[in-house]
Amino acid sequence: MRSITKRKTLDEIQQYLKGFDHVYILGCGTCTTMTRTGGKDQVLEMRDYLEGLEKTITGWTVIPIACDEMTEVAMKENERPIRNAGCVLVMACALGVHRISTYTNNPVIPALDTLFIGLEEKPGHFREVCIQCGQCVLGETAGICPVSECNKGLLNGPCGGTNDGKCEVDKEKDCAWTLIYRRLKLQGRLDLMRKYHPPKNYQTAPRPKSVRIRTSEENQDGSV
């Protein structure tokens, strides 16, 4: 699993940083390093860019896993330069931004947009395969998700917009339902495609979603 990000435009970042002369930059050693949006090289490029705008960079670091609770330790180690900055510019995904926000009272500004949780299919190619809907249908769709991979999230087969196995939204993109059809046919399970899928329950876990793993003592009284 990877959090796939894209850098905001430099204009947007500049707008967010208006009024902040001193900036501390945080990158992430995991997902954004892999997507080349918030690794060491990109953090240094950002430093140079901001210095070119006459801003003072009080420091920078690349936290190994920005969304991890160990981030608190890394930020403590850099407490002084972070405090000396007017704000923290974060080149991690939104999960990292959230985590970092809990450990500083300084304004935290995201330099990236978080696009999706995806897989790296081949080097440099990332694809959204799950939107965490809370009601997995992969067992009936040959392991290809129509909820996330079909533009309309259709449950009962392809729309009329598909042609030659491609999607109406993008001729380069495969139609998820054509892929499902082909794989189910190969598996001799095409009857699954004929099955009616009722409307999805979009409130399996109402937003904001949360889960608490209960201890064995808590479960003794029969609670789940």
Binding site: G153, G157, G160, G161, N163, D164, V169, R194, P199
Partner: protein, 295 residues
């Protein structure tokens, strides 16, 4: 409950003609109302499109009310793109109370192909689920299973793309729509009558009426655009040649002739139960098409 006039026509065994009306972008209804007046007594029903191609327009329901007020028989086109299940059910109830008794259930185009590209595509339901929702409401229950005080009654239809590649996934969905209660189908545009006749051999085994989609060709450019950009529609080269050879300024005339000829052929050999004419902005010439078809 009142049986829709269109349903009576479907059951009459006559060769049916429906036609598409596109509401305007804005509130000046003059042209749309003119088209309604022009066509309301010439066809069995008038479909009113629902933000066609995801371009924001005057609503389908509003257009259907106008058709009804003018004495025509409307088919409410309803896509799943812009409304969740609450809003869809509410609109079905409103339609029913205003005498709109025909509904065409569609998935809807992606928001991205339209003119409000940043909008949120809803797709809470798909076309099969919407058909089932109609039938459930007819049974006096909403989608959550609650009793309705006063139900609805619709002649419900759906869409099929007979020339899609690969065809089998579309046919599986077609059958799901039949099982969900679709009574009639208006097809995506067809141009290859032999291929369509093969589809009809298959479709005949189901207890539904099929109206072949006839999209008026207005120029060589339009035909080429369709082949390059519109999924599931193929304009054969001989038709493109025919348009090209029609002479300067005569392509539309030729397109009318082609549409009329196709309709006449479908009717003569009783290939399907009727036609659904989509003139896309050229509704003015539909009477000419019908004349060429001998209707």
């Amino acid at each position: 409950m009142a049986v829709s006039k269109f349903k009576e026509a479907l059951n009459s065994g006559k060769f049916l003609v429906t036609c598409e009306i596109g509401p305007p972008k804005g509130t000046d209804l003059t042209q749309m109302l003119h088209h309604v007046d022009l066509l309301k007594y010439r066809v069995d029903a008038l479909n009113v499109t629902d933000h066609q191609s995801s371009v924001m327009r005057f609503p389908s329901l509003g257009g259907c009310l106008s058709v009804k007020e003018k004495g025509g028989e409307p088919v409410l086109q309803m896509t799943c793109r812009d409304r969740n299940r609450l809003a869809l059910q509410a609109d079905l109830m409103l339609a029913h109370t205003r005498g709109i008794n025909n509904v065409l259930c569609l998935t809807g185009d992606s928001v991205i192909v339209g003119d409000h590209k940043g909008a949120k595509g809803v797709f809470d339901l798909d076309s099969v689920q919407l058909l089932r929702a109609v039938r459930q409401m007819e049974a006096g229950k909403d989608m959550a299973g609650n009793d309705l005080e006063g139900g609805v009654s619709f002649c419900a239809g759906a869409v099929v793309t007979p020339e899609a590649t690969p065809i089998e996934p579309q046919l599986i969905k077609f059958e799901k729509k039949v099982e969900a209660g679709a009574e009639f189908f208006q097809t995506q545009a067809i141009y290859d009558l032999e291929r369509f006749a093969k589809f009809m051999e298959y479709a005949r085994q189901f207890p539904v009426k099929i109206l072949a989609g006839i999209v008026l060709l207005t120029s060589v450019g339009m035909a080429k655009f369709i082949n390059a950009n519109i999924p599931g529609i193929v304009v054969p080269q001989d038709l493109i040649d025919e348009l090209a050879n029609a002479g300067r300024g005569r392509a539309l005339h030729k397109g009318i002739e082609i549409a009329g000829r196709m309709i006449a052929a479908l009717k003569k050999d009783a290939i399907c139960d009727g036609v659904h004419i989509m003139a896309i902005g050229k509704e003015e010439v539909v009477p000419e098409i019908l004349a060429k078809a001998g209707l």
